[in-house]
Symmetry: C2
Subunit: 141 residues, 2 copies
DNA sequence: ATAATATTATTTGATATTAAAAATATTTTA
DNA sequence: TAAAATATTTTTAATATCAAATAATATTAT
């Protein structure tokens, strides 16, 4: 594979990633949530109710850290803990009404950004991008 | 533009972004640097010597935060401050030898990831991805 | 059934990181 | 030169993180 392609692509990917990052953090800054709280909200919104351990795994942090994050989300009424009969050690975490609304709201920002991107591309290119991302996501991430 | 395309693309973009994020943070965790230090190193490596203000802008944080980050990079001998005659308020920040090596090292990781992505795609798709990213980067980010 | 082991979540103590405000230093401009 | 603008540092308070210890509960082996 040509070095030129690798280098250029790496450079554009970095630019793209940095663009997404600063866009995301400006959205979060304008919200009621900290970065880690927002991340937790996304995970809960996307994957639904889950216990602390798998939440910690999805977030890539320890369960201790997750406990603190969930405490804060609970205090702000974005999430709740529920215990289950089958295993009294376990807490299932899920979004409250308010949490769901915040997740939807956040999602709208994502959709808006996606629309912006699409409008910079032809319809054919947009479809190609979708195909390409699906491949990369399923094979690498 | 079709809702289906927007939704799917948004979803894949989020997945892609999360994949990149956790990949990046695992690389950083295995290094001598914190996330913000690594970010600063990237900016300095990519854009070269600059003053605190423009560095803060590139990083998307305040100059106060940047001062602290540069302090740490300086202490670890990754970066240095240089003053200039023309304006004694100004410090120009640049990478040391060690900083340059770390930047190159970090860059190698990026190239490796890029190669992985390319190997999941056909040559045509890789070129298409480059074209698409260039468009998005120049028009949106 | 009991004892040993494993799992899940929380708490604690120590650092690291961050943003924002206040203080200081310097340059530019009127 | 005095005032305004700019750049930086310091300080403060909030947040984030981890590792280790603890508590509660489940599971497994004897």
């Amino acid at each position: 594979m040509s070095d030129r392609l690798i280098n250029e692509l790496s450079h554009e990917l970095l630019h793209f990633f940095n663009g997404l990052s600063s866009w995301e953090s400006s959205v979060v800054r304008n919200s009621d949530l900290s970065v880690s709280e927002a991340h937790a909200l996304e995970v809960l919104g996307q994957f639904g109710r889950m216990n602390m351990k798998s939440m910690a795994q999805k977030l890539g942090v320890t369960t201790g850290t997750t406990t603190v994050t969930v405490d804060r989300l609970e205090k702000k009424d974005y999430a709740r803990r529920e215990s289950i009969r089958e295993d009294r050690r376990v807490n299932l975490i899920s979004l409250t009404e308010k949490g769901c609304r915040a997740f939807d709201e956040h999602n709208k920002f994502h959709l808006t950004l996606t629309e912006q991107m699409i409008s910079a591309l032809s319809e054919e290119e947009s479809n190609r991008l979708l195909t390409i991302l699906k491949k990369i996501n399923s094979e690498i991430f």
